[in-house]
């Protein structure tokens, strides 16, 4: 088995559905994070069979980890401090998501004005429904 050394301080995004880590890397815009990041694909998991993991060294304060609730429902967040697990978090759906998804309504103003940001506001937590800020088209996240 491949060994990746443990984190002393950082964040481990665990239980990512196998094959989704690279998408998450893009969604979270981790490319602009200056610290060390390890992506582990297809790790063995008793719960999921196979899973992906992302380890981020340091404190990624500018990264909105709640976005995980939108793009990867199964993902969990482990905060590591001084080499020990300090906190386990489940991401909560953010009130607003920006430029993660595009509005699919062909009648929406964003369909002709490409420079507009695609902004969705959470309207129903239970059904995980967002609505486009402009045309109010409903959009359910998985």
């Amino acid at each position: 088995m491949l060994n990746i050394s443990g984190l002393n301080n950082g964040v481990v995004i665990d239980h990512i559905k196998a094959g989704e880590a690279l998408n998450l890397y893009d969604y979270l815009d981790l490319d602009r994070y200056p610290g060390c990041i390890a992506i582990i694909k297809n790790a063995k998991s008793s719960k999921m069979g196979r899973k992906d993991i992302i380890k981020i060294e340091g404190t990624p304060e500018d990264i909105d980890l709640n976005m995980l609730a939108v793009v990867s429902e199964s993902a969990t967040i482990n905060i590591i401090r001084g080499g020990i697990l300090e906190e386990k978090k489940s991401p909560v759906l953010p009130e607003v998501i920006k430029d993660i998804f595009k509005c699919k309504n062909p009648r929406c103003i964003t369909s002709i004005e490409q420079e507009l940001p695609h902004i969705f506001t959470l309207t129903d937590k239970k059904t995980r429904t967002y609505r486009c800020r402009y045309c109010e088209q409903a959009f359910k996240v998985n």
């Binding site: 009648r107 929406c108 103003i109 004005e113 507009l116 486009c132 402009y134 045309c135 109010e136 088209q137």
Partner: protein, 306 residues
């Protein structure tokens, strides 16, 4: 600075004040004839509309103001590819208030984010048409004397009909309202309005396909046109367009005080023989549209009238 983008941008108290002001204008229009002297309304109409644009222009002229604008995207900078944001930034220097109609949903909302003058949504695709809703509310209030304890029948295209969606959301804020939805299966009210508005607020409603059966119980029958421009498929439009036609024979089923309303333009969903029936108030409704837009302009420009 306030804008009017969605019919729910004004709460019930604000809506009632605006309707009160409109009623004052109806009572004494001459008292308002010079209130907007020196003020300019820009009508930015990216798609054709006769009624709404002229109604806005008449409203501003009645208040002593003046109007400028364009009436199709072809005669505006949009044809050259200018964005809504850039257009409104420029228009903000030319006018004091603007009314925008756009075929794309959310365009007036984008405009309001970049505007230095109040923006009124004069219809954005199949989405919102808040001044039509205010017109409808004023019509009901004037002719029924109340906006509470009413059974409202909505007939025709309830799927794409934005006026219907907005009217449901607005009237649901008043006490004692119930709805009867009359439409074919294909044009039923979208589920999200049923769930998020009607069921959420516990508003009684039923869905039927037969118009005559429910007419005797209605206080208001709101007819709509099946709109060709909302269909991607011409075949569906042709199949559904003539499904409900209100004629003299059907009107015999209605109570003597039931109002027949229609946002206009009408095609053939109400036969012309109904026009002389005192219960047919759709032309009166169009007239009220001018008064409500006058009240709206005054409200958004924060003009006080002594």
């Amino acid at each position: 600075m306030r804008h009017l983008i969605s019919p729910l941008d004004f709460n019930v108290e604000e809506t009632n004040s605006l309707l009160d002001l409109a009623e004052k204008i109806i009572t004494d229009p001459s008292a308002f004839k010079n209130v907007c002297n020196g003020k300019k309304l820009a009508t930015l109409f990216y798609e054709p509309s006769t009624r709404t644009r002229l109604s806005f222009e008449a409203a501003m002229l009645n208040l002593g103001g003046s109007v400028l604008g364009f009436s199709s995207a072809d005669s505006s900078s949009a044809a050259k590819g200018e964005s809504v944001a850039d257009t409104i930034r420029v228009i903000s220097s030319y006018a004091d208030i603007c009314a925008m109609r756009h075929p794309k949903e959310g365009a007036p909302m984008v405009a309001s984010q970049y505007s230095r003058i109040p923006v009124i949504n004069a219809g954005d695709g199949g989405h919102n048409h808040p001044t039509q809703t205010l017109t409808d509310l004023l019509t009901i209030k004037q002719l029924k004397g109340r906006l509470t304890d009413l059974k409202i029948g909505l007939c025709g295209d309830l799927k794409f009909g934005r006026t219907v969606h907005s009217l449901i959301s607005s009237l649901s804020r008043y006490e004692g309202i119930s709805f009867v939805m009359i439409s074919p299966e294909e044009l039923k009210l979208p589920d999200y309005i049923k769930h998020e508005v009607l069921e959420e607020k516990g508003i009684p409603y039923k869905e039927v396909t037969n118009l005559e059966e429910v007419m005797p119980d209605l206080d208001v029958l709101y007819m709509t046109r099946v709109q060709r421009e909302r269909f991607f498929n011409e075949e569906d439009y042709i199949r559904l367009k003539d499904i409900y036609i209100l004629d003299k024979k059907k009107m015999a089923h209605a109570g003597k005080d039931m109002l027949v309303m229609h946002p206009l333009p009408r095609v053939n969903e109400i036969t012309t023989e109904v026009d002389d029936d005192p219960r047919a108030v759709y032309f009166k409704q169009a007239e009220y549209g001018v008064y409500v837009r006058m009240a709206l302009i005054l409200t958004l420009l924060e003009m006080e009238v002594q």
